[in-house]
Subunit: 139 residues, 3 copies
Amino acid sequence: MWRQNEIEVATRGRGFHDLTAQVQAAVRSAGIRIGICHLFLRHTSAGLCITENADPQVRRDLERFAARLAPDGDPLFQHDAEGADDMAAHVRSLVFGHELSVPVCEGALGLGTWQGIYLWEHRTDAMRRRIVVTLTGEP
Amino acid sequence: MWRQNEIEVATRGRGFHDLTAQVQAAVRSAGIRIGICHLFLRHTSAGLCITENADPQVRRDLERFAARLAPDGDPLFQHDAEGADDMAAHVRSLVFGHELSVPVCEGALGLGTWQGIYLWEHRTDAMRRRIVVTLTGEP
Amino acid sequence: MWRQNEIEVATRGRGFHDLTAQVQAAVRSAGIRIGICHLFLRHTSAGLCITENADPQVRRDLERFAARLAPDGDPLFQHDAEGADDMAAHVRSLVFGHELSVPVCEGALGLGTWQGIYLWEHRTDAMRRRIVVTLTGEP
């Protein structure tokens, strides 16, 4: 059994956007008991990731880590067609990931207690981001 | 055809734990000839990865690289609810990964000769870690 | 429905090799309308990734970023059985990834406009690299 649809997210610029409830709802309504939920971001300057969902400080620390690893305007980078955050965003997308497979267990996302699914916007501007959600499994 | 089960691993603190034989056994007993084996760690402070399985020095070097990239007690981090290794572990989990899809080829894991599957514990304490193994394919 | 085959790529040493057209052709000929295309590199010193496909400077900047993150001959590394680029290649493979799942949408890869699929060779020598392509979905 296969289900596929697209989610569009309007980001408010750099930062984390919790998608867990939205994806959980799509899984619960699909009628799949055992399977896989695959999320794919159709962009190379933002990301999809699973991280700790309890303390917002974790996401702030991840943002600070990303800024140290690949800062905006890094003199290493020559590609800056869309600004000082352009190449930094491509690097972050690659290092932190932009697609996820999550198991479906007993009809719901098989996440651990402290796991949340996030769209991580790496551009400083607000953007429209498209995510392909593909669900497969057995009822 | 779908098969799903959970593996629990008791780690001995930070380091690599070889899961290859255990996952290979699950694949071989599933009766799937062509398919995918998906491994999903239900935690955000440890990882799942594939790396070189021959020279243990490779894993020691990876550990040293991780310690340089995101050291325990890094002054950049404010989240330290569970100690100096708490946020370092979240960062490492995200950078080095915590879920894997491996092809099933002719009834076994389609790994290359030098590839091993590892649980990478990023916390310094011994922990209990749960991994969801989802197998799908055709007989 | 399942299809599986292996691609072999002869690299010219370190750098990016565009696989998009080759994978797209495999997907189009498989007769799958909705599904997943999984790519798995059977090596631990090269990678598979999706990044920006328009400006070649992006890939040059990624290469420079990788060289800063994990340089050849890094004094941190002790594993150098195959040379100064050996351990650097293992680290890069892990950080930037070596397997990909891409949705199949309406019979083709569901990539965004600016996304390309690349084999990223991390060794300085020319190598032969094997990739398992696993396709599953419904017609």
